[in-house]
Amino acid sequence: MLRFDNITKTFGANTAVKAASFVVDKPMMIGIIGRSGAGKSTLLRILNKLTDSTSGEITFDGLSVTDLRGAAKRNWQSQCAMIFQQFNLVPRMDVVSNVLHGTLNRRSTMSTMFNLYPDEDIHSAIDILERLGIAEHAPKRAEALSGGQQQRVAIARALMQDPRIILADEPIASLDPMNAQVVMQSLRDIHEQDNRMVIANLHTLDTARRYCDRVIGMRDGKIVFDGTPEQLTTGAARDIYGADASFSEATTSTQIETTEPGNKLLADIAAH
């Protein structure tokens, strides 16, 4: 389905990604872990074509993504949604407009300029917001929402694209632990209910273990681990983070003790 073949990216003298290769044969939830600067973001940006790779090839269902230019590139981007650490919404526009931005690739420039979105798109945008539990914020400006709510708006925009893949670049790094769980659970639900491929850069091991079917570890631009969460032992994690024996997983943990009342509370938050 998705194949990375020797993807390399250099910025001047620095190599951000070194010969990254992996194959994904069915939609699954993949977590990419590694230190800051390990090349995780670059890898996702290359897949979304926000950044061009220096060499190597990515293919998706036989389509060579790396060579796409112009309209074909934008069409690929519309099938490969991206969620950012800082949400990257248009802060001064309302929530529904921000979700509708997911359809821009299908809209002509003229209808964009006059804000002419079809009624059915507006309905499905609000349905998606409902699914993510933030429908009552629909008419507000995006900047008026909290971080966790903004990130769910960004997920709604991604869903509005009706994408084949959803990429998430540190989606929970600027959220508090409670909102982080809501956002990760939303991504997991999207994978399970819609059977979409989700690839998320994560900076905590426990999140990767808890939500992902497969974990890829990167260190200094190279893929140094690729396996199931069960295979990710403390030794493997030390290797990924380049840490010595004093490394303890607890130091990277943001997990909240989830008891039965805690889960109920989370469900409440997700519903509102």
Binding site: L50, N75, Q77, F87, P91, R141
Partner: protein, 294 residues
Amino acid sequence: MAPNTAPRATETRLSDAYLAQIKSKRLMNFIMLVLFLALLASGFYTADSRNAGGFWDGLGNIFDFPAAMFGEAIERAYLMPAHLIRYIPSLIETINIAAASTLIGAMLGLVMSLLVTRGLAPIPWLVGPLRRILDILRAVPEIVIALVLIFMLGGGPVPAMIAIALHTVGAIGKLFSEVNENASLKPVEGLASVGANWTQRMWLGVIPQVAPNYLSYALLRFEINIRASAILGFVGAGGIGYDLRNTMSWGNGKYDEAAAIFILLFLTIVVVDQLSSLLRNRLTHGTPMTEVTS
């Protein structure tokens, strides 16, 4: 005691050095000030000696025109309302020239500004050449373009409008591109990730962020353009400038009409200024209506 004396000695040495540095700085500043005043005075005397009439002889005459104008205006104050009403059509023509040229100039300037902002420009190698074009448009005074156009197209408001619009493109293009540079690129990146094209990215990602700044620069330009369009009336572009030239050159006895024109121009600038701050506040803080719905 002994361990304490050593740090104190270094302290005194440090403060001495600092004081010496301050003193030499002050001396330098004083020398620069004297030099500046000397150059100013000598420059002034050079200019004065080359002046045809002589500055000192003419100094007394400077206030003759305002005095005559105010005198006549007060003397025939009962005619003022009629004068004000008589010149309103020409004022509207002048404002129309300014408004049309600001609108056209701002729209073209907006497109130009996005094309010359590094990081947003769709064709990076065009940034330099387009910036030079904006420089040229800004460097040529409106009155020169207007004179050339009036020579080719004949007198009237259209050449004046084109002349001011061209200058406005140059000015607005530069001001807007400076505003664009401060826009956050995050929304632009977000829109790029969904596959939006350049126009869509600019229209939704950049323009909503910077619209209040655009508006305030455009309204400032509108004020400037009202003055420019009044001045262009002097060279035959019609409007209130033409009337002002006539009333002023007819001399004594018509100065109350000149005063009426000055009052109209002054009021127009004040109104545009107030309107500009009102609109700006509304755009930055949102209209009262959206506050209620949210």
